[in-house]
């Protein structure tokens, strides 16, 4: 597949947007300026960016507790995201959801989810609706290696295959579920080994290589869109920060060396080197992208900080539709 410069630059932009948003969120959390739990996507940008670049605005994705990256990749608005993380009324969820429930239904982002695996059946339901309406839309489920051990994932994957739904399963295998390495919780190395058990094709891609991710995703999305049913994509990746929050060095459950090894393959660095080499984006131009995005993040922080907290009465609203409040 020969990707156009536009697509390459678009993917680069998505990755940079994720990186800057997440770095900023991490810093704010360290300064106790964000309430609640925070699961950062830094290191895994190529997965969300590569996949979402293969989707239209009408396609849907469902996400995980580590959801900011997915929303940014799908086109999420920094201001409403940052405001949500701060629990402000201008946030995507009016401050009611926070990091773990961030969403933008208008962008087909069906929500981060605080329950591991909880979003998988929901994306399959969206896939069903797409097939029902025969509107050519595709839904994508993002889930972790750890999530592949939970029942909801299994049920939904099998259902998608049984009903031949236009769904793509994207496993972000970062080798850990919280603080426990994969080899303590499963006897397989590659989560994709599960795909055959549902009767769907599966491939492994280098999750640090956005082009590889994109090509595999585009194929799976095409397959789904053309009525050939679900498929499975396993992206080998790594989170650069702790399970929640920032801390990098001195983590008990993984070695500094392991982290250093993976950081050598920083997906943005890798991609920028490649773009520079092929002349698509010079180092200087890349720098400009970073600066622009960094500015947007700063602006979003300012917006969020200036935004009002929700009115206390809003606590009681939005429990039900169509009920006077």
């Amino acid at each position: 597949m020969q990707l156009s410069d536009d697509v390459l630059l678009d993917m680069h932009h998505r990755m940079v947007r994720i990186r800057h948003f997440e770095e900023a969120a991490g810093r704010l959390a360290e300064e106790s300026r964000l309430p609640g739990f925070l699961h950062l996507y830094v290191g895994e940008e190529a997965v969300a960016a590569g996949v979402c670049a293969a989707l239209t605005d009408d396609d849907q994705i469902s996400s995980t507790h580590r959801g900011h990256g997915h929303l940014v990749a799908k086109g999420g608005d920094f201001e409403r995201m940052m405001a949500e993380l701060m629990g402000k009324s201008t946030g995507y969820c009016k401050g009611k959801g926070g990091s773990m429930h961030i969403c933008d239904l208008d962008l087909g982002m069906l929500g981060a989810n605080g329950i591991v695996g909880g979003g998988v059946p929901i994306a399959v339901g969206a896939g069903f609706a797409n097939k029902y309406r025969d509107d050519g839309r595709v839904s994508v489920v993002f889930f972790g290696d750890g999530a592949s051990n939970i029942g909801a994932f299994h049920e939904a994957a099998n259902m998608a295959a049984a009903l031949q739904l236009p769904v793509v399963f994207v496993c972000e295998n970062n080798e850990y579920g919280e603080f426990t390495p994969r080899d303590r919780t499963m006897a397989i190395t590659d989560v994709v080994d599960r795909a055959a058990g549902y009767g769907m094709p599966g491939v492994i891609v280098d999750g640090m290589d956005v082009v590889a991710v994109h090509e595999a995703a585009a194929e799976a999305v095409d397959r789904a869109r053309s009525g050939q049913g679900p498929s499975f994509l396993e992206a080998k990746t790594y989170r650069f920060y702790n399970h929640h929050g920032i801390q990098t060095l001195g983590m008990k459950y993984r070695s500094d060396e392991e982290l250093a090894e993976w950081k050598k393959r920083d997906p943005i660095d890798l991609f920028e080197a490649r773009l520079a080499e092929s002349g698509v984006l010079t180092a200087k131009d890349a720098e400009a992208v970073h600066e622009r995005v960094a500015g947007e993040v700063e602006q979003a922080i300012a917006f969020a900080e200036e935004s009002p907290l929700p009115e206390v009465e809003s606590l009681y609203e939005d429990v039900y539709s169509g009920v006077a409040q």
């Binding site: 969820c93 239904l105 909880g118 059946p121 339901g125 069903f128 099998n158 049984a162 169509g322």
Partner: protein, 332 residues
Amino acid sequence: MTVTEKEARTLAYGAAFNEGLRQIMEEDPDVFFAGEDVGKAGGVFGSFVGLNETFGDLRAVDTPISEQAIVGLGIGAAVTGLRPVVDVMFMDFMFVAMDQIANQAAKLKYMFGGKATLPLTITTSAGAGLSAAAQHSQSLEAMLCHIPGLKVVMPSNPYDAKGLLVACIRDNNPTVYVKNKRLLGLKGEVPEDLYEVPIGVANIVRPGSSVTVVTYGRMVQESLKAAEELAGEGVDCEVIDLRTVQPLDIDAVTTSARKTGNIVVVHEAVRFGGLGAEIASQVQEQAFDYLDAPVGRVGAPFTPVPFSPTLEAEYVPNADRITEGIRETLGM
């Protein structure tokens, strides 16, 4: 009752459900249903019979045995604009899917700051009395009613079986529609056209002055028998069929309690922590000075549902136990 000119049409509870579903599917192309054995086989209780033939595999969907994915299918389809009905064959199996029901469906709208609309109906079958033992006989509505975001209806007769189903499917919230297995064959008047029984409105099925019996689902039938029995002894029971257990039509209950001064709540579910507790609490909060006696509660004892018919007969509340409960409240 007056005899209407046109002979009223009667239908069984299960058939009324089926007719309601068929008619609303004819009316609204966004409605589909999915569940185990509900397609080709027409459902294990026959409730979905004939619909797959009419509506095909995409609107009358057979699913794997995967309650989490079944409910999730409904959530995802609802949030993207369809109006799904998903079936959890026995209410006991809701425990398998509780995350999707209670953590996802119930909370999605709120967590998303109001953005999501979830016109999802979850149908299921509850109730003991068929020697189906501990995992196929429970009435678990109390658990659902404790979860903000859900609505829960429990029809007691064929008319409501049809009308409440239609109301649930048209409602823009996740609703749980609970059939009672032992009511499926109960016949009653059911209009032929499509109609709604509004969610959240109780029905005074028997007006009376001595005592208020608040109940729902199959226990309405048993309570009416108890009321007949007691009528012979000069006790005039008012029987309120809640029809909806979440939201609760507490005004109907307290109005009646203020009138009669005595109140007994009856349900098939385990008494401890059952809905009767909430109703009793609210009644004493709102009508304390009107009560002549503590609010009585009739429900199942604190044990799993036993298999043996002798034991089950002792377990499940019935007209006799209700009569006894009313007598106790009235100090008879």
